[in-house]
Amino acid sequence: MDDIKYTVAKPNVLKYDTEKDYGTPKKDSEVLVTLNIDGVEVTVPEGTSIMHAAQLSGVTVPKLCATDSLEPFGSCRLCLVEIEGRRGMPASCTTLVAEGIKVKTQTKALADTRRGVMELYISDHPLDCLTCSANGDCELQDMAGAVGLREVRYGYEGENHLKAEKDESNPYFTFDPSKCIVCSRCVRACEETQGTFALTIQGRGFESKVSAGNKDFMDSECVSCGACVQACPTATLMEKTVIEAGTPEHKVTTTCAYCGVGCSFDAEMKGDEVVRMTPNKEGGANHGHSCVKGRFAWGYATHQDRITTPMIRKSIHDEWQQVGWDEAIQYAASEIKRIQTKYGKDAVGGITSSRCTNEEVYVTQKLIRAVFGNNNVDTCARVCHSPTGYGLKQTLGESAGTQTFDSVMQSDVILVIGCNPTDAHPVFGSQMKRRLREGAKLIVADPRAIDLVENSPHVRADYHLNLRPGTNVALLSALSHVVVTEGLVKEEFVKARCEWDSFVLWRDFVAKPENSPEALEKDSGVSAEKIREAARLFATGGNAAIYYGLGVTEHSQGSTAVMAIANLAMATGNVGREGVGVNPLRGQNNVQGSCDMGSMPHEFPGYRHVNDNEARAEFEAAWGVELSIDPGLRIPNMLDLAAEGSFKALYCVGEDIAQSDPDTTHVTHALESMECVIVQDLFLNETAMFAHVFFPGASFLEKNGTFTNAERRISPVRKVMAPKNGMEDWEITAKLSEALGYPMQYGHASDIMDEIAALTPTFKGVSFKKLDELGSIQWPCNDESPIGTPTMHVDEFVRGKGKFFITQYVPTTEKVNGKYPLILTTGRILSQYNVGAQSRRTQNVAWHHEDLVEMHPHDAEERAIQEGDWVGVASRSGETVLRVKITERVQPGVVYTTFHHPESGANVITTDNSDWATNCPEYKVTAVQVKKVNQVSDWQKEYKAFSESQIELTGVLPAKPAVVE
């Protein structure tokens, strides 16, 4: 919690201690109230509870059912106080401060009552404290001590709950009801913090107990976020790792390495072993919440599949040879030199990943630009958010989202388009649901009924615009048409803040009858009336914010759709303050950061074009070499040229193009055609099966650096254990550089950040030291905004005036026909992450052990397909076989799948169609046919044989259990 700063009249500051539990949430109010607690005057904002005020003044009131992440409930009666002139003993957690009152927290009568309360609790509680997993970390134990409980007069002979059965169904935590004190913290955490409402208190009085809908946790609605476990004051809900290892002895604050929310965690350690990950209350993105991945799914770091010794081989059909680091680095360097001599400087390149730290991406692009001598560097953002970078730079002037996550708490209307926050950005999804439960309106534009539409308790979309895949631009044009033709444009904003000429061009364009909802109805499939109503709501409902994801970008018109979104936000005056804005939800943890760090072939760190002479001169001076002015190759260009034989070597850091990129057959053919593929990763990933050099990488727990999340928040990643592979990843890259004759002089990741800050105007004020002080920093961070910039474009757009672009709808060439009558679209789910290399190697497989294809009952019936059948999904590119799930979540004519498992081969079917501006693949639209089959596809058979043989060639990895039978 940030400190409360008094007004000028009372210039003292109330300090918050991050380690302390204040019992009830902090309240913000201009009005201050002064009261007296145990003889000490304390001044706090109106609305604060007496308990919270007492804690601030240094007095601790005993408590059990209250905790400062949840609204108070007042059930345990332990926090009673006396107030002069008032009768009885009110609960301090539910009683608010009032001017002038005198509160006593310690009297004989209070002590007796509290002891009586505790006695009752303990009489129905096992007395196995010494062997309990919460020993030393149990609030019940603490409170028994605090109230001075010395004897329990009621025996265990009466009725009690001591025999209640444990629920161990969840792979990560246990529920032991015998230890439950029915404080309902877990129930409230599930409601308020997570928004899932999986738990209830059933029964009354003695009978009352916590229930996950009368099921075990695994079969309930529970999504395993762990909020209840964290809130539980006893050992009732407990992490299995703590049960096994005991309580941790030290902790290090770091950042989740999964999704673009970028949650801050305390890695709680015992020696160099992680015991648990606890989301950090001070975390700017997560405020103490997390999802199942970040909190629980970190076991992959010590998984037996990890490779920790470098390996080399001449051909991909040879056995791998385990070698020392020096030999591996020398070999890789000599191959790069040999290939550049033989085929030319431009025949080599590299790929970084959104899973890398900023520092790793920075040194990799530096290696390629300064040492390889070309700009052939790209990153996996190519296949996800490159249209965001392009579209927002063109319109607003900066390739980044405009808001903080907290901004959503000021939104009145939320437009969610092509993203699924509750699955893909869970912690932000919980926050958004909180705002929706408070009454914000919701418009969902998605072909599929995502959970927000009507499958989340107390949340319901006001409009679900269930468009056909591939028609985002048509839908956005139709929405804009209504705004323009019904006089809903915020003209003062546009006049003051945007290029008027560009607005006029755009206005005249969207006002054309062919852009009306009625005219576009046949394309989008959404009724004109619904679009009109949604547009009116968006333009007139107050603060309107747009959240979007890969459902917008991964299309042949991805960049156009991003620009259309920016147009709509500008035209309705929804940029430049809290509660509004254009918010790309980034998939992986460091998509924003890897783009910021110059991993695109046409730009240096900080989005400065390679043909910008001034920028290039700065980098040339700092790096001491001449740099190329020619934009480099993008991933698909590299692959095309590789397949044709002129691109010969690739340094691939943390990325798995053989699984994640479209048209797998083309990708693997390209990889096979290269002479030297160097893969740096934790695991023998799909790409590594085609590699000649394998550099084992370090996990996020084993290195220092920073990640930048979807709200431009730079957060520290800290080393909590020694790298099993012996080196942090940036060190590997630096060593390769040295072997190529260009030593990089860094002693620590912080030195790299210092170089980034010196060369990147938006990072000028960033340093590890400042990150230690502030916790995290949202760029731009420079002389004007030394502690960062939560909201962008406040008084002026980064490009000066906002620019409107005409966004003509151009239907994709990927069309359905008689042979391929269905549209396949792809997405992700909560428990798995991207290509799944990490999450598949954790117990998260308990929720999702295979990718399924979702199909509407109507389409299934037509094909005589039943739930659970194996079906062949064939496109113009290829065919794969998956199991089917029949659901009305998808519309007739559309099928849907995830892509977390390599053997599913989802990308065997996706085509090489791509976004016009950035070549971002059109993952979201593939014409397919689906048929019932009884065996896996040829591709899958070949894949299985190939991957088994590759695993054998390592000589060290255990054979993989077959997943597809």
Binding site: S556, D630, W916
Partner: protein, 71 residues
Amino acid sequence: MQTEKLITMANQIGDFFEAYPNDQEAMQGIANHLHSFWNSVMIQSIVGHVQQHQGKGLHPRVIDAIKQHLA
């Protein structure tokens, strides 16, 4: 690189600028885009295609843009 692919990509860029009423602005837009994002090998191929095969398969505005600004 396969000219086929480059033609498709260039035409897609052309499609975006198709709606721009001002011809000059549209052609400038197409050329700027190619210049900023395409590697020189790709630019040379497409320019070569325009020069040697009259830009067969390319949309007229794209051909004109390449002729005016890149060739």
